[in-house]
Structure formats: structure tokens, C-alpha cells
Amino acid sequence: MQAEQTEWGEKSKSGTMYLQFYINENGDKVYTTKKESPLGLATESAHPARFSPDDNRARNTCVIITAASLGLSPSNSYKFSFQLCNDCKVFQVITFVCLQAFQRVVIGWDKDVESSQVTAVSCLSTMATRNLGGFLVLILAFTICGAATVFQPISDSHRSTALELFVPAGGSFGSLEETYEAVRSFEILGIDKKPDISSTACPSVLETLGSSSSTPKDLLYALRVNSILKCNVNEELLKGIVPRLKAAVNDASSLLEFYYSIGSLVLIKDQSSDADVLLVDADGIFHSIKALSQSDGRWRYGSNNPESSTFAAGLAFEALAGVISLASSEVDQSMIGTLKNDILKLFDSIEKYDDGAFYFDEKAVDARVHHGPLSTTSSVVRGFTAFAAVTSENLKLPGDKILGLAKFFLGIGIPGDTNDFFNQIDSLACLENNRVSVPLIVSLPITVLSLTKKDQLKVRVNTVLGSDAPPLTVKLVRASISGSRDISIESQDLKFDKESGSHVLDVLPKTLDVGKYVFVFEVVLHDSEHEEVFATGGQTQVPIFITGVIKIDSAEIAVLDSDLGSIETQKKLDLAGENVVSLSANHLQKLRLSFQLTTPLGQVFKPHQAFLKLRHETKVEHIFVVGNSGKFEIVLDFLGLVEKLFYLSGSYDIQLTVGDAVMENSFLEAIGHIELDLPEAPEKAPHPPLQPVDPYSKYGPKAEITHIFRSPEKLPPKELSLVFLGLTLVPFIGFLVGLLRLGVNLKNFPSSAVPATFAILFHLGIAAVLFLYLLFWLKLDLFTTLKALGFLGVFLLAVGHRILSHLASTSAKLKSA
């Protein structure tokens, strides 16, 4: 069980926690609880966001918990989801304590959250830290499988992330493209950082515009940056570029060349009052761009490039919109009509996610430049909104697809990459004011309502960038318990509260009990003309949790005799308060625990978890599920459980855990102790599992190793050995004495000089060999000995041969003579 604790990982958190921080002028992190730093910028949450997405307990048709936009760490802010199983029996005991804490967090801190998102769940990783502050926090937005997710419009967390992401390295942002991304994002989000950026970016802009070697791409980005930063660019400078750009347009053959030069000309038209940017041969240019299109609505990059791309289609739309706006005479209407058909055909290839988000993706993977769904979709959005802005008639695109595109961008959360962030924000800005249909996002600040606190249901309807929507009414079409068809509420209108800017359902109907519901909302615009302008998306399904305090009563614990069923000890428990019950039982008896749970409205409540845990003093734990048949009861028959308990007798701690997502007072109570007297374990009984060892104990001192040496042999006393040494020499002396007695003489020793020397050398040689052996015994090793012996042996052989042959010849002469 303990090994599973960490599977739930750590969850990310939202700005509803109190501790925030901001970076002051010196670059230090300053902690505070305020929402705004002294520098005037929004503070960020100090709690990091972490998540483990590899939850493998998913079962089908369960509650999907989807994280909406997050806290402020830009590194992991993409949409993620993991599944909790409703019916999963093997659920962590811990998570229910977590959910209980979640209720507390939500109820306590959810008010007036105008920026940060949704509900926070503090999830604890161990039971032991229940009362400590070691929280890991989840952000949940609930949904039913396969249905809608609640999307949130752009908020202050985006603004603070933008400040964190777009940090100029060394004063400037690098290329003009990156500068443009940064300033455009700041412009859309309303962050005013212009003075210090202008000072670094404007010189670069002027240099690019003035240089004659700048490519149309450089000019485009320089002009874009200029349009936002309003650097003081000389009119003459702008006019001087125009002929170059016009020549580039006429010579252009690839889509990108058209795009850059036409885009630059459009910007010059806005920035300069009297530059002559109008295109004479607009029809021809339109035609040549159109020639690169494919039948499925996509575009090729160039005539010699066979691959078509959706990203290129977006660029083409923008370029063609630019051509239309720059045309000196009216562009042929039939060509505009075919372009509209192209856009519609491209929209046929749109893909969608289950939660209602629509997006475009590239089919062919281009090795050089890969555009993911985000950049492809944002290119198309820019394209068609630019086109819609310049045509007089309306582009008839289905509103739900536009809303789907908006949901796609919002569903990303807060991207961690500057490019992705810019694409998201820029596309949302295009969608905010587009002339096709403006998407309206229905969002709920909280989706968990507490009956005890008498929470109000609040719904907000905004545009994607968070601005106000036109006058409308939000209707609650119906509310039903999730998983069933019974309808609890029908057709209520929500009142609009001007102060908070949200629609409020004043009082929850009295018939709403605790549980999981699905609320279906519909947005009705007051002005019927607005129906064409705004896209509301029909009915939105939102899962809502209604929580309350569950009453526990008639709780009692008893020890029964197994055979007769008679009660030996019975104690009443007060599960809301403290209990220390002391029981004792032997293996022939049973333990019975029973209690009843009722909801605030008096219904019988069935919680998700009801566990009884017995923990032995050696930390071996056993968990049992409390059954439900009207009232909750569990009977532990020790006779059958003896083997499961590993025959361990002694004192067991009893703990009861009851919890559910909608139960505000989920608890984990220590009820008391029970002394169990179990029989002795037989030989083959299973051993209790090993308890985990404290991992740091392996760094502590280890047991001392006693080395056992071989006891030295008993040596004889020294005197005895010396005596025998002397005794050994006795025969030698006897030998010498005997030799003398035998009359040994040296008569045969040669008298003449040469043989005499050889004789002496012979004897010396033998003596040397014997001395070598002595040295060998004392300190030499075999190899040196053998080497020396080799030399000595050769010498000895030579000498010996001489003297002995001499002696032999002498004696032979004597014999013959």
C-alpha cells in the first residue's frame, strides 16, 4: 500500500493559495500575500506546479479530471488529464483525506477569484503529514468522459507568465522576429513595457529599414515592430523601400516571397500617410498566388514544390487579403469567391478533440520546418480573419468551428515556449475581433458548491481575451445526477450581477442533495442581431460537485462470541469526536463495527471509501472494506482471519476511514486498540511481510565485524628446539671423528700447480653452491637462485671435469704402470 502512495504524484496548484512572490529590482524573490507587487505588476504564486501523468488506474467511463490553465510555472502548463475511477476498489486511503482537505481549500479560498483558475485540491502524500502543511495541490475542472471541458479565458496568470517568458537576453530580444513576438504579446495582454524595449529595438528597426541589403522578411518584421512601438521612422525612409518591395512582389515566385513583400507594403500603407503602395496589377498577383493552391484548400510553397501545407494556406490567405486591400482597382469578385470556397474547403479538413476543440494539423511532415497543430492553426486563423476583415460580404463559416478554434487555443493553458505563447495570444486576439463570428466562452470560477456554506452557482461569459460579452442571459437548462437520467432542476434563469460580472443562481433548490451533477447551461443573447456576430456554442455541459456534511450516527463497536453470537463487549463510538476504545478478543470471537451515514437531506449516503485498518505493533497492516447494506457494518471473524493476520498476537490499532469527494467531513479516525490473542503459528505459516527499512539507515554505522584469526600453532619451547639442533650436529661431529680414525689423508691431492688450482677451484665451487643455497633459504627467491646456479653450475662443471679427468688419467697411468 505504501508503495502506491507516490503514484498519484504531485499536482499543480492555482493562484488561490495565499503565498505569492514577485521579483524586485535587484532580481531577488520577495514573498508576499498581496496580489500586486510594489512595481505594479501581478505577483505569482510561490507554489510550484508539478504533475505525474502516468496514472495507470484508468477505467472506462470514469470521471475525467482535466486540468485547466495553471499556475505560473511556464514549463509545464499544457493541458493534461488523468482519470480517477469511481468504482475502483483499490483506491488510496490517502486521497480521501486529500479530498476532504480539498473541500476545505475550495470553500475557504474560492471567493472573488477573478484571475486564477478553478478549484484547488490539496493532496497529501502520506497520512502522517495530514496535519502538516505539506500539501501538493491539484487543479481540477470536472467533466464527464467525452463531454465538455470548462475553458477559461485569458487571465492575469497569462500576463505574469508573459513577463517571465519574454525576457530580453542582454537587453535586446535577439532577432526582430522575436522582438515582434514579445511586443505583440505585451500589446495584446495590455502590459506596458514599451520604454525600455523601444530603446533597444528601435535602433535595430531603423537600421534594418535603412539598409539596402535587408530581405523582405527582415523588412516585414521591422515594420511590424515599428507599428507597435511607434519608433520615429522617417517618411522618406519608408517611401524609399516601397519601390524595392514592389519589384519584389512582381518578381516573386514562391509563396513566402509574396507574403513578406505584400505584408510589408500593407504595413507601410498604415504607417506612412502618402506612400504610393497601391498595386497596379492586383489581379495578376492574386492569380499567381492562387495558382499555388491545391484542390483540398491547402497551398504549396512554390511551383516547384509538390508538397502542400495547411500552414502555407494560412500565409496565402493573409497575402491575398493584403492584395485585396492594396489593389488600386477592384479585384475580380469571382476570384474572391473562389478564395472563399478554398477557405471553406480547408475548414472541411479541420480536426477535433473530444472536448470540443477544433484545430488544423499538417498531414505531410516536412523535414525542414515542422509546424505543429498550434502554429498551423494560428496561421490559418490569422489568414482567414485578415481575409474576413477586407471583404465586404460575410464569410460563412460555422460558428461552432470558430468556437472550437477558440477552445483549442484556450485549452492549451499557458505555454512555456515564447513561440507558442505568441501564437496562442495572437490567434486569440484575431478571434476576439474577427468579422466572421466572435466566440464567447462560458466559464465557471468554481465547480464545487458546498451546502453548508450555502454557495452560489456563478457562471461567467466572456470573450476569449476576457472582455465583457454583449447583454445575454444564461439559462440553466437542466441539472441531473451524473450517470442517471433523473432531472433535479429544470429551466432556471441566472441573474446577472453587475459587480462581479457573472451570472448567479441565487439559491440552490432545496431538493439538491450532495453528489455529482451535470449542469447544462445555455447562453441566450438579448439582441437577435448579435446571433450572427457571436458564437455561443449551444449547450455547455459542466459537471458540478455539491458537497455537504454527512451525519454519522449510531456507531458502535462490539466483540461477539463466534458460536453464539452473544455480545461480550460493546462500546458506543462518537465518530465525530475522539475515541480511545480498548477491547480484547481471542481467535474464537468476532469484531463488529457498524454505523449509519445520512446526507443533509436525510437520504442514506454511500461513500466511495469505507475502510477499517488494523495495525499491529510491529507495523504490519491489514485493511478491510466496510460493507454497505442499508447501514454500514463490518464483521471480522478472527477464526478465519488468523492466517491472514500472520498469527501475530498482541495489540492492534484500529483505524476507520470514511471518505468521498462530496463528503465535507471525510475522516480518518483512530478508534482505539484491540488486544488479540491468536494461536501459535504452525511451521509452514507465511511470515508477515517485511516492513520497509528506513532508507537512510544504510548510511549509518554498521555492525562491527569481529575478525577471527587462525589461532597460532603451539610451538615447542625454544630450549627444546635448540637442544635438538645441537643433537643434530652430533652425528656430523661423529662423522668427522670417524674420518680421522680411518686415516683420511689428502695424499691424492695433486701437487703440480695447474691441477692444484683446479682442485681448489672445484672445492670452492662446491662451497659457493652450498653458500648460494644458504642464501636462497634465507632471502633469495628461486629465479635469482637459478640464475646464479646456472653460472656457478657451468663453472663447476668445467672445473670439475678438468680435475676429475686429470685424476682419472693419473690413476689409470698408475694402474697400467
Binding site: 643434530t728 652425528p731 661423529g734 652450498l770 670439475g800 676429475l804
Partner: protein, 115 residues
Amino acid sequence: MARSTSNDAQALFHSLRSAYSATPTSLKIIDLYVVFAVLTAAIQVVYVAIVGSFPFNSFLSGVLSCIGTAVLAVCLRIQVNKENKEFKDLPPERAFADFVLCNLVLHLVIMNFLG
């Protein structure tokens, strides 16, 4: 009967002594050498019997050196003895040279094994 046996023993002993005194001196030297070597070996065995054979390799090398050199001396005696018809053509110096060489090799091995 005992007296006759003791008389016989005495007579046998005397005849042995007289026969032995006829052997040449060089052979007597070799005999003496053999006796010396065997006695040394015996003393070592007695020592081991008393003390125990803890450094067994030392005991073996000591005893085997004595026995080995005794054996080589016996070989020398056989080869040098003029009454042996087989070794008539072998010059005694050659036998002696063999004796010295073999002894040196034996003692090299013994020294290595002595430890």
C-alpha cells in the same frame, strides 16, 4: 641353548668385523657418511615425534635430504666398489662427479621446500 646362541652371535659379530676391516678405506668413508646421514634423519624424526609436525614441509625436507644423500652415497659406493663387475669400466671419478651433481640438485630442491 642360550649360550650357544650368544656364542654364535659373538662369533658372527667377530667374523663380520674382520671381514669389514678388509674393505678399502674409501668405501669405509662412504659407509661412515651413510651412517651419519641416517642418524641425522633419525634425530629429526625423534624431534618431530616429541614436538609435533607443525611445519611439516620443514620436517619432510630435512628428513628427505638426509635420506636422499644417504641413497646417493650408497649409489656411489656401488659404483666405486672394485668388486662389482658391472661397473668395472666406470672410472670412480665419474661416479664421484655424478654423486656431487645429484647431491647439488637434491639440495636445491630441499632448500626450496624448506620454507
